[in-house]
Amino acid sequence: MKQVMEISAFLAFKEIWRNRGRFLLVALVIALITLLVLFIAALGEGLGNGNREYLSKLDAQLIAFQSKSDYLIGASRLDRDRLASIARVQGVADAGMLGASSANLILPGQEEPLKVALLGVEPGHAGEPPVVQGRQLGTKLSNEVIIDRNTALRSGLALGDTLEMRVTQGTRDEYYKLRVVGISGGQQYSLQPSIFVPFFTWDKVRPKSEAEINSSDPIANIILIKLDDPAQADVVRQRILSQVNNIEVATISETIQALPGYSAQQSTLNTQGGFTLFIGLLVIGGFFQIQILQKVAQIGVLKAIGTTNKVVAATFIIQIFMITVIGVLIGSLLTFLFSLTFPPTIPIVFNGTTSAIAIVALLLIGPLGGLVSIRYAVRIEPLKALGLSS
């Protein structure tokens, strides 16, 4: 075995080194494919993140929706009576209302308003994001706002600034001013940067239809539920469903999957990534197959003088692996360099796990693509050396 590896490595290295131009070219193609796959993965991560960031960072395990809303936040309407009932259920540590809508921030010196997600949360309860600067929201009805890092970056707003917001209520545009008391980490929602106001403030300043303007009862979209023991999610979920009427309960990940367009977008990007990998497979497979067709006589000679099939196969595997590794390394490096040039507003997020999966997949396509060629090489008859076949 050691001798097989020694000879194979010797032949593999010599061939690559003496044909380094050609092999480098293939490595570069693999590098470009790597670049593409990693960027598609990062884009998927970035877009997915922009959709789910707020939800996936929640310190809550379950979400209550109005029944028949199909886990769609926008389709769900829940009032405060439900909040009280849910909070009473055994196993529920905390519950908070969440109202979701959007608003336009009027920024001094900028023509275009900044579209943001306007989220109403209950100060001190599940749903309010932790601030990294400043303080949490104060009273239930204060004109205070926490902005997320993305809003801060794009608007230039800082702690203590006053934010002006335009919303449409009925047929009129209304303007509201809120004071920035805290800045949270990234909390994008619906691919928008987010701002957070106390729930009752939210109910006052949110966009409303003509009918809603006159109703006095504040209505939230969903209720976020934090459990005493997250492992008991299923049990508590059943308990809530049996004790509270007209609701349905989803986990955070079920809610994320139901986000409008989320699954479709992720599967589109996954398909693109998969397809790119497949092209890589064809490129590598094609290259090595063409190579081997040109080398039939040469491999025949090697076998005639007593080279074993093991050595022939191992030589190929080493070469394919080396070229793939070099290509993926170059590609990863290129991706890293490119990523440095992107502004933070572009939804590209390099996630360690996703990138690792992509890189492993890329490393596998080489050997997979070369499989056919290896089989072919092993089957070449040494008689070819004499220009004969049996």
Binding site: R18, Q298, A304, I305
Partner: protein, 248 residues
């Protein structure tokens, strides 16, 4: 005489037959060939195109199984060997030169020769030195580190000869070694080849359609339609045959 311990012949075949099936009935490519070659003897296998030379050489090389008959290499019956054993046999006991594409193109001249030792796990300091000496004797002392593509056809054949001899095989097989060479180079190559085979006491068999090359061999076996039809065993009759043909 004890054939088991001290075989008289390096290679011996007994009534070897090779039949290829074809649409027009079977083709007897080799039809009952018995031959023996002693160590230190250089034999030419000649005959018109299609007479079965390459097929016979392939059988001698353990690359092709005969339909019938027996082949003994150093007294060992090839028929008794497994596929893997035959690979080992070729690697250890046989040296090859082919008509074309002899050398591994991404290895230098000396690396090509050393490859034979490498495959046999015998590449040590002494082996490396011998490879260089052998190439130098073949007039390639200045070409050791040239890649195949930088060598002429004759030089490539000489590298192949070095590769065929470096691991001290019992049998050296050469398939049309002069096919791609001009006359002068062809003479040079075959003369050196013959010299080394005699000196190192190998059994050499060369397939050639160029009868002039028989000048350097000890015996000529002539094939026709798969059969051995004529044998020239002494220098005088060989030279007569060579001149006779050359004057045609």
């Amino acid at each position: 005489m004890n054939a088991q311990t001290q075989p008289e012949f390096a290679i011996e075949t007994r009534v070897v037959v090779k039949t290829y099936p074809s649409d027009f009935g079977d083709i007897q490519a080799v039809d009952g060939v018995s031959l023996q070659v002693r160590p230190g003897e250089f034999v030419a296998l000649v005959g018109p195109s299609g007479s079965g030379k390459t097929t016979m050489l392939s059988i001698l090389a353990a690359l092709l199984k005969p339909t019938a008959g027996e082949i003994y290499l150093d007294g060992q019956n090839m028929h008794e060997l497994s596929e893997n054993d035959l690979v080992t046999l070729r690697r250890e006991k046989i040296g090859f030169t082919f008509q074309a594409n002899n050398l591994v193109p991404y290895l230098t001249a000396v690396e090509n020769v050393e490859l034979m030792l490498r495959l046999n796990d015998k590449l040590d300091k002494a082996g490396k030195l011998r490879a260089r000496e052998l190439l130098a004797r073949l007039g390639l002392g200045e070409r050791l580190n040239n890649l195949t593509g930088q060598l002429s056809g004759g030089q490539q054949q000489r590298v192949a000869i070095a590769r065929a001899l470096i691991h001290n095989p019992s049998l050296v097989l050469a398939d049309e070694p002069t096919a791609s060479l001009d006359t002068e180079r062809a003479y040079q190559v075959v003369e050196t080849f013959a010299g080394l085979i005699h000196e190192q006491q190998r059994a050499g068999i060369m397939v050639t359609h160029d009868l002039r090359m028989c000048e350097f061999v000890d015996r000529v076996l002539q094939m026709r339609d798969g059969k051995l039809v004529k044998e020239y065993t002494d220098k005088a009759s060989i030279m007569k045959m060579v001149r006779g043909r050359a004057n045609d």
